[in-house]
Amino acid sequence: MSSDILSFIIFLPALVAFALMITTKDVNTIRNIAFLTTTVILALVLKIYIEFIPSEGMQFVTNVPWIETYGINYYVGLDGFSLTILMMIAILIPTSYLLLWEGRTKGYWLNMLLVQTGVTGTLLSLDIVLFYFFWEVMLLPVFLMIGSYGFGKKIFTTIKVTVYTMAGSLLMFIAILYLGVAYHNEFGVWSFAYNELMKITTIEYSTRVWLFLAFLSAFAIKIPIFPLHTWIMDTYKNAPTGAVFLLSSIMAKLGVYAIVRFMIPIFPEIYIEFSIYFVAIGLFGLVYFGIAALMQDDIKRMFAYSSASHLSFIAAGIFSLNEYGINGALYLTIAHAIATGALFLLVGLIHEETGFKTIKDLGGIAKQAPILTFIFAIMLFANVGLPGTNGFVSELLIIFGIYEFNHTLGYISAITVVVGASYMLWMFQRAILQDRPEGSPVLKMRDLKIKEIIGLTPWVFLVFLMGFYPDIFIDKFEPTVTHYLNDILHIGAAK
């Protein structure tokens, strides 16, 4: 059983969702059982976290044939890197349930469960066709959520986001098939496992570049990396809180994850060669999205840009080719998931309570809801990267990494962080702190309920724990990063 624990984690939410779909119509029962499911998963993930040995490679592996004719296996397992993200998902989802607790429908919770199956499956697949399978499947519940529970031009938005992301995915699909065929031609057997595809030597350089770009198109759209970001503004604005949370906190991170998991091992030399462009694009994206965020009046759009800005920074770190940068990027992945996740959920709450989502209508919330403001501020500071929070550690690591990679870009990256601070603090001042005259409708805002506070406490705790003791987390995935740098990229871990 212990080796099947990952399969259990992957499929439990989906099975529960199907069981609930057929058996009951009562929303409260569904929500309670769904919440219970996610906490069971959290417990299992903690068990894995304790049993995990950082110095070894893939663990908890299940590898059984799925489609034998083409050597496609049901191949799941995790290493330090995926474990960290698995932890993040397992913690974020149940607490997000607490913040979404009231006023949802049956379909909402079922989709939340299905998404969890999709994202965990994507995270743990090591066979690239299996990965593609989950990668596409995880989009469908989000599609339904945006269309059913979204705002504004939601139907246009759903179609747009679906076609946009599918376009990237299908380009990756053809690259996957090409790799499989190349492997078949070289070794005479079919395989789509990532560690087998690494061995291919026969593909020409120019073809490899195309394949690299095809893979990147899928991941860059999900992250999003400039200039493939145009879908997120409408989507984040019109989507319901839960879907925005899933897209920004979890799915975008899977794009980053997939770059490290599949693209680096399969195309190491192209990754090294192109890294300078991507670091530059990442930094450009950071500034571009940052300035765009300053201009926004709609608070959700502002967060969409801010999220894109941070993810560009993560992308820059991933491509910086040294241990600082990659460690920092991974660390920021988690830090950002926590901070942005919390901020999106809180903004969603404010929107639902007051009905406002433009910054100029808001304000005066600090007086009405001090606890909300307090937690909002903590997450905001973590996002900005104030010392003592996890954001600080990760941003520092990335800046080091980029400095090591290229001094000029390093200086630039250090300065760009200011942009992030400026729009965040300005927004905070206007939307939360500034006074409003007596009787204005914003003042209806209630404070957090005890359930929501309980939900957010572990996040707040994590923000500081990761900020003060980064080592206990970095130790879990550092060996994996070192392994990548030494054994796959052959450039050595710069210490």
Binding site: F11, V129, F143, G147, T158, I159, T162, F173, I174
Partner: protein, 506 residues
């Protein structure tokens, strides 16, 4: 007697057709009786076909009587089972529709079985003139079924377009046969194959011209690019269930004959048409996609998208090539067969479900008619979603696995650019399929709901649910979820491999 067992399925269907014809002379039988009788015969035929399902064999029974014009092997048996299954599912899914349209009388079911008989024969034939007869038996039956819809003014246009063009293209076929006969002095495909294997250069000119003319017939029947113009109007004018039947089952029958001819006999010269077919694929994909995007009636959208699916099928077909006495990329033949199964299930499901919904009304089935279906009938909407996802090739459905096979084999054969185009067509197809899903789920139901008030607990619903389950099962395979090795995706591939291998039994 032992040889007779191979003939039983086809004969059962023929006897069934005749029985239904006699039954239709009496007023007292209802549509339900006809469906039951037809199904009984079909299940008997299916049972006999299944007897030899997994064996690998190839026989030509009653030599002196049939004169080697029919081959009975695993390949034909495989296709027979598909065709019978397709017909049974059409009947069961259409049960609701048949009962609420007064123009479906006894004769209709007799004709349906005649069509099936022609198609089954087509899977067996090894001779060009017999192939023509089988093709025309099936085609004429389908012509009549297209025109049976007396309530729709479009049907006259539909039937005449189809009949005239079909007869026209039939003339091409006959001319092709004559030219081949002129060169080889035979119409038996095995002997034509032997001639091709031993001749080259000037001796072959007539054969090439003849086969190209026959290729036109093939392209017409499967609705590939320059011969696709009939599809929209014919599919539009035909009764919904017949549209489903034509799009899925009839296409399979056409492929069965041409795959046999190509793999068994014509393989050595197959690469001659690669360029033509590449161009046809490009145009088919582009044109089909353009048509599908611009439709507002669901039936026409599905019809137009079937053109795109023809493009995918041809993509697997072109991947076959021949070098030094053996067929390369034989795997793409399996991919074609798998894709045919995938398309059979998803198209039958999608068309069938649309017909089921409108059974008791007379609406045109535009996107608007589907508004809010998910709130009225969540399970029907869920099943429609499954079929659309399968058509779009989204993972967890059989359509994805089908596309996976076809694209892999096309890349394997070196047609990467064409595959890229097919992928782009798929991206666009996501748009028009998801639009329907969006309409079903994200709009409130209209006030005057056209689909309410019928009982869902009936044969049609269960048949559609059955197809939906197959669609999912074919895409996930039970191996991945429950770790049961039996119901595996591989088993379908293995079956199609056995089938194709039986073509080469001498």
């Amino acid at each position: 007697m032992s040889e007779f067992i191979y003939l039983i399925p086809a004969i059962t269907v023929l006897v069934g057709a005749l029985t239904l014809m006699f039954m239709s002379m009496y007023e007292k039988y209802t549509v339900k009786n006809f469906i039951t009788v037809a199904c009984i015969f079909l299940f008997i035929a299916l049972g006999f076909s299944s007897l030899t399902f997994t064996d690998s064999y190839s026989v030509q029974p009653y030599n002196d009587l049939l004169n080697n014009v029919l081959i009975f092997d695993t390949f034909s048996n495989f296709f027979n089972i598909l065709l019978i299954l397709g017909t049974i599912l059409t009947l069961l899914i259409g049960e609701h529709y048949f009962q609420h349209r007064s123009y479906f009388k006894g004769e209709f079911f007799s004709i349906l079985l005649f069509a099936l008989f022609g198609m089954m024969l087509l899977a067996h034939v090894n001779e060009l003139v017999t192939a023509y007869i089988a093709l025309e038996i099936a085609s004429f039956a389908v012509y009549i079924m297209v025109g049976v819809n007396t309530e729709d003014s479009k049907r006259v246009e539909a039937i005449f377009k189809y009949l005239v063009l079909g007869a026209f293209i039939g003339a091409f076929y006959l001319l092709g046969v004559v030219l081949i006969y002129g060169a080889t002095a035979t119409t038996n495909l095995s002997e034509v194959g032997a001639y091709i294997a031993t001749h080259s250069g000037d001796d072959m000119i007539l054969v090439y011209i003849g086969l190209t003319l026959i290729l036109f017939t093939f392209l017409f029947k499967i609705a590939a690019f320059p011969f696709q113009s009939w599809v929209l109007d014919v599919y539009r004018g035909a009764p919904m269930v017949i549209t489903a039947y034509m799009a899925s089952t009839f296409k399979i029958a056409i492929f069965s004959f041409f795959m046999r001819a190509i793999l068994q006999n014509l393989a050595p010269i197959i690469d001659f048409w690669d360029t033509i077919i590449s161009v046809i694929i490009v145009l088919t994909l582009v044109f089909g996609t353009w048509l599908a995007v611009s439709q507002t009636i669901i039936k026409r959208m599905l019809a137009a998208s079937s053109i795109v699916h023809t493009g995918y099928l041809l993509l697997a077909f072109i991947a076959l090539s021949y070098k030094d006495g053996e067929i390369l990329n034989i795997d793409s033949a399996y991919a074609t067969m798998f894709y045919l199964i995938a398309y059979l299930l998803s198209a039958l499901g999608a068309f069938g479900l649309a017909s089921h919904i409108i059974s008791e009304t007379n609406v045109r089935v535009t996107y608007n008619d589907f508004k809010g279906l998910a709130h009225e009938r969540p399970f029907l909407a869920a099943m429609m979603t499954i079929f659309l996802l399968s058509l779009a090739g989204i993972p967890s459905t059989i359509g994805f696995i089908g596309k996976f096979y076809v694209f892999t084999e096309a890349i394997n054969a070196g047609y990467t650019a064409l595959t890229l185009l097919a992928v782009i067509a798929t991206i666009v197809s996501v748009y028009y399929y998801f639009k329907l899903i969006a309409v079903m789920y994200f709009y409130p139901a209209p006030l005057t709901c056209s689909i309410e008030g019928f009982n869902d607990k009936r044969v049609s619903t269960y048949a559609i649910a059955f197809v939906a389950i197959l669609t999912i099962l074919g895409g996930v395979g039970s191996a991945i979820v429950f770790f049961i090795p039996i119901l595996n995706i591989d088993s379908i591939i293995t079956l199609s491999q056995t089938a194709v291998q039986s073509l080469f039994i001498k």
